[in-house]
């Protein structure tokens, strides 16, 4: 039942709009007025509350379930950070408010810029990108601007490992680059030989995550860095995995020139059922002139500290503006609060305990007979296992296992990413989960393994206990139905 199916003509939540309807016939030319009525739902306030409260209960979420979605860092989102960002003064501040009504907000944002410089080892930060992918866009656009500013017009290629997240190649293309994919070796590190082949004078840069999406630390990073820099290219760091090394290794120290952070991952801001996130970019010396605007500056005016906006006027070579205002301000405030809650020691602990949890879970699964993709390697904060054996022997796919895990009350890990490991799970427990829950997850996995051997059908037809059974994705594409229409079945 959608909200449209509950709708009844003439019903209204009367408390929520002005009590009288103002006449605008003299103010809006007739020809511009709406004549066609929309079919928005007509429902009571109770119906709305009940409908969406019940809908919400159909979701798995961090607040209700272990959610080891690799590459996504589904850790506890502190309610305190949410409250701190929801103070009326913050919620009511207009983005174009005069500076005098902005010092509270700007001071938080300025400090967050400083924190991010600290943990990344970078020289400058712009918080405006609204998600990781927009951070990538900003970063690659800066790489482009850098080369162009030096009169270096031939560099039209960005190198990306085959294991990279889809946003990496997609971003490179959006920035007008060609993508050169390079393979990953069987130990999870980049194939240096292959890399050598593609590094040329056309190389604008390389995009890497480290630890990589294979769940291992790229050990040759210093070599890669030298190789790329020597060829005149720059290094982009995809910060999706920063959680694994937060406060322990600074991307700047690895030789990266530019990076984004996913605050909705590493800084524990809520994922919101798909967003909003925030993807600040941080840069080394070379890319400082190109940072996207606006940025918050700080000045001392006769004893008093004031904060202000740096715009294109201050950064004339900036790649420009990426949003109507300055990105996802509320997410930035949450990340700021999170930083304060953790403090510097807490930042280090994020890396330590997310790594401890991942390695412990890896070892337990290995002992239970699961196939580890990179068995000779330490896990970073996440790791890969493969169901290729089960797929072959029992015709049970990684997706089947994922669905079956839902029945056991666990959200499934990321499946089929990266693509190079067949039938894989990318598993990221995060530091905020306890040993007990990891042990319970292992137990469920062992049970499922037993089921695969004894009664594969129960796995193949899973889930059995959710609001719906296995959904038909193919039909969803073939018989495209993307909006409610009166009279359509429901």
């Amino acid at each position: 039942m959608t909200i449209f199916d509950i709708s009844t003509t003439g019903r209204r939540a009367t408390a929520q709009a002005p009590l009288n309807i103002a006449n605008v016939d003299d103010l809006i030319p007739k020809a511009l007025q709406r004549s066609q009525e929309t079919i928005l739902p007509e429902v009571s306030e109770l119906e709305v509350v009940r409908h969406y409260t019940r809908l919400s209960q159909k979701n798995f979420s961090i607040d209700t379930h272990f959610y080891p979605l690799g590459s996504c860092t589904m850790k506890y989102n502190p309610r305190g950070a949410h409250h701190a960002a929801s103070m009326p003064g913050f919620k009511q501040r207009h983005p174009l408010a005069p500076l005098v009504y902005s010092q509270g907000y700007l001071s938080c944002i300025y400090e967050l810029q400083e924190f991010i410089k600290d943990v990344t080892g970078m020289k400058g930060v712009s918080l405006t990108p609204m998600a990781g992918a927009q951070g990538e866009f900003a970063g690659v656009a800066m790489i482009k601007a850098y080369h162009l500013s030096r009169g270096d017009f031939v560099r039209d290629e960005i190198i990306v490992p085959s294991a990279a997240h889809g946003t990496n190649p997609a971003t490179a293309v959006m920035c007008g680059f060609k993508v050169k994919e390079i393979p990953v070796k069987s130990d999870g590190d980049v194939d240096l030989e292959a890399l050598k082949q593609v590094v040329t004078e056309r190389t604008a840069g390389i995009m890497l995550t480290n630890p990589s999406t294979c769940g291992v630390f790229e050990r040759d990073i210093e070599t890669i860095s030298k190789m790329i820099h020597k060829a005149g290219g720059l290094l982009y760091y995809d910060g999706a995995n920063l959680n694994a090394i937060l406060g322990r290794v600074k991307p700047g120290d690895m030789g990266f020139d530019v990076m984004h952070l996913n605050l909705h991952k590493t800084f524990a801001t809520p994922h919101g059922g798909g967003g909003p996130g925030s993807g600040p970019v941080a840069v080394g010396e070379r890319l400082l002139p190109f940072l996207p605007t606006p940025i918050v500056g700080k000045q001392h005016q006769s004893e008093k500290v004031t904060y202000y906006w740096l715009t294109e006027k201050d950064i004339p070579q900036s790649i420009g503006r990426l949003s109507a205002f300055m990105g996802n301000a509320g997410i930035l405030l949450r990340a700021y609060a999170y930083s304060l809650l953790l403090g510097r020691d807490g930042m280090h602990e994020v890396a330590e305990f997310s790594t401890l949890n991942a390695n412990y879970l890896l070892k337990r699964l290995e002992q239970a007979g699961f196939k580890i993709a990179y068995p000779t390697r330490r896990a970073s904060h996440e790791f890969l296992i493969s169901f290729s054996r089960e797929a072959k022997e029992y015709k049970v796919s990684a997706m089947d296992v994922a669905k079956r895990l839902l029945d056991y009350g666990f959200h499934a890990p990321t499946t089929y990413f990266p693509l190079l490991v067949p039938e894989c799970f990318l598993i990221e427990p995060t530091e905020t989960e306890s040993k007990e829950i990891i042990d319970a997850f292992v137990e469920a996995m062992i049970n499922i393994l037993d089921e695969i051997k004894s009664n594969a059908d129960i796995v193949k037809k899973a889930p059995h206990s959710l609001p719906v059974k296995r959904l038909d994705d193919v039909k969803a594409v073939k018989e495209l139905d993307v909006r409610w229409e009166s009279g359509k079945n429901s």
Binding site: I21, A133, G273, L356, N359, V468, K475
Partner: protein, 452 residues
């Protein structure tokens, strides 16, 4: 150890299972040289109480101002139920609904959102959101180019009366695709797109025309004429619309004889606080023919093994996680939670409620403007009908007015001077339903005092 549950015993047991002596050892693959020292700018850990105190003091220093700025972010009443429900853990702490069966709440809600947005815009399909209104416009232009593959040499017409920040964002984002952007001027008397500027373009010169309704100055465009002109030149029409206004104004799908092809806009007015500019969300709707060129997530209705209806992400082959370099956009994380809020908002308001809000804004803006234009030297910048924003010419510097009215805790509007120096002293103001008659009187009184 904020938020980390590990006890000493846990740690010992886990290390023993792994077969290492210390957590440090787990990092032994990382070259020594790369190990960072202690952080220097991140302060010491604070308790939640201390963080809340610090940030509430800061928030308070920005608070208690009666703001009459619109300019892309609009203060509306947000029903209490909206965020009470949107911030339920199950909505707020879930991620993108990759596991459809465990995400029916989010998926059905997005399906309902798509349905509402197509209804409001009069178009066929909607996506699950883009970052904000400005990036949605940029994506719409990229989409138009993908749809019309032979776009080389053709121009996208961008009127200078769209939000200046939108213009800037578009330039940043579409810069790399060889799309030619042609800024077109607006009439200094009407504030509308200057039809004279269009004469230079012949049929097939134009890839797409962007039309903001209402435009940055609050002025309403003759969308029918503009759309028909575009269509007669074989160009796509991209409407940039304020969603509140759609309850009162003709939907883009009905513009001219054929309707606009794409409508985008800022979703913030639908239940999202102005909150320093974000998180908001960009919405995008389009004609069916364009659906496979859409960026971002789309949810479809389907059935499960038992034939029961359910919802899932669909047309994923457009997206970066499947199509990588050939995707319709690099967007991955979108603005899901604000969409959740907007969906609840639209359910509570309905068309009737939204129309009441829209009309109330319109009437109150006109009420304030009519008071102000009685004052010497204050006059309308443009002679066209306007919606809930209005640009005024002032007898004194807008910045000075702003500073003086600050003493009464009023922000009178946006000083237009930095954006359009050609106007001289000018102010863009907006009144929404949140302002009472008393608020308007205070404004007028304070304003009068500034002119003395």
């Amino acid at each position: 150890m904020a938020f980390i549950p590990h006890t000493q015993q846990d740690i010992a047991a886990m290390l023993a299972t792994i077969g290492v002596d210390s957590i440090d050892q787990l990092f032994d693959e990382i070259p020594e040289a790369l190990r960072a020292g202690i952080l220097t700018h991140v302060p010491e850990e604070m308790s939640e109480m201390d963080v809340l105190r610090l940030m509430s003091d800061r928030a308070a220093s920005d608070a208690n101002v009666s703001s009459f700025i619109g300019a892309g972010a609009y203060e509306h009443h947000i029903p209490s139920a909206v965020w009470d429900i949107a911030t339920r853990g199950e909505f707020m702490t879930a991620y993108t609904p990759y596991q459809a069966e465990a995400s029916q709440g989010t998926l059905q809600l997005i399906y309902e959102f798509q349905s509402m947005m197509t209804q409001l815009t009069g178009l066929d399909v909607a996506n699950a959101s883009l970052y904000d209104g400005a990036t949605a416009l940029a994506e719409a232009i990229l989409m138009a180019a993908r749809y019309n593959k032979r776009f080389a040499g053709k121009k996208v017409l961008l009127p200078r009366n769209i939000h200046p920040h939108y213009l800037q964002t578009v330039k940043t984002i579409v810069a790399h695709q060889g799309i030619e952007l042609a800024e077109i001027d607006f009439s200094a008397t009407t504030g509308q797109i200057d039809l004279a500027c269009l004469a230079q373009f012949k049929p097939d010169d134009v890839l797409a025309v962007v039309i903001a309704q209402p435009n940055f100055f609050g002025v309403m465009e003759d969308v029918d004429a503009m759309t028909d002109w575009a269509k007669s030149h074989n160009a796509l029409v991209i409407g940039v619309v304020n969603p509140t206004s759609l309850a009162a104004l003709k939907p883009p799908g009905q513009w001219g004889t054929e309707g606009a092809d794409i409508a985008v806009g800022e979703g913030q007015p639908l239940g999202v606080p102005v909150a320093s500019g974000g998180p908001y969300f960009g919405f995008m709707c389009a004609k069916q023919a364009l659906v496979r060129q859409m960026p971002g997530r789309i949810v479809g209705r389907t059935t499960d093994l038992d034939g029961k209806e359910g919802y899932t992400l669909t047309l994923q082959a457009r997206e970066q996680h499947i199509r990588r370099g050939k995707a319709t956009s690099n967007i991955c994380t979108n603005q899901g939670l604000t969409v959740t809020a907007a969906t609840i908002y639209l359910s509570l308001l309905g068309l009737e409620g939204l129309k009441r809000v829209a009309n109330d804004c319109v009437v109150k803006t006109h009420q304030l403007v009519s008071e102000l234009t009685k004052l010497p030297g204050v006059e309308l910048l443009f002679n066209s009908p306007y919606f809930h924003e209005c640009a005024l010419r002032l007898p004194v510097d807008g910045h000075v007015i702003q500073q003086k009215m600050q003493e009464k805790c009023i922000t009178p509007g946006l000083n237009l001077q930095p954006y359009f120096p050609e106007f001289g002293n000018a102010l863009l103001l907006c009144v929404t339903e949140t302002k009472t008659d008393a608020d308007l009187s205070c404004y007028v009184d304070a304003f009068k005092a500034c002119l003395k």
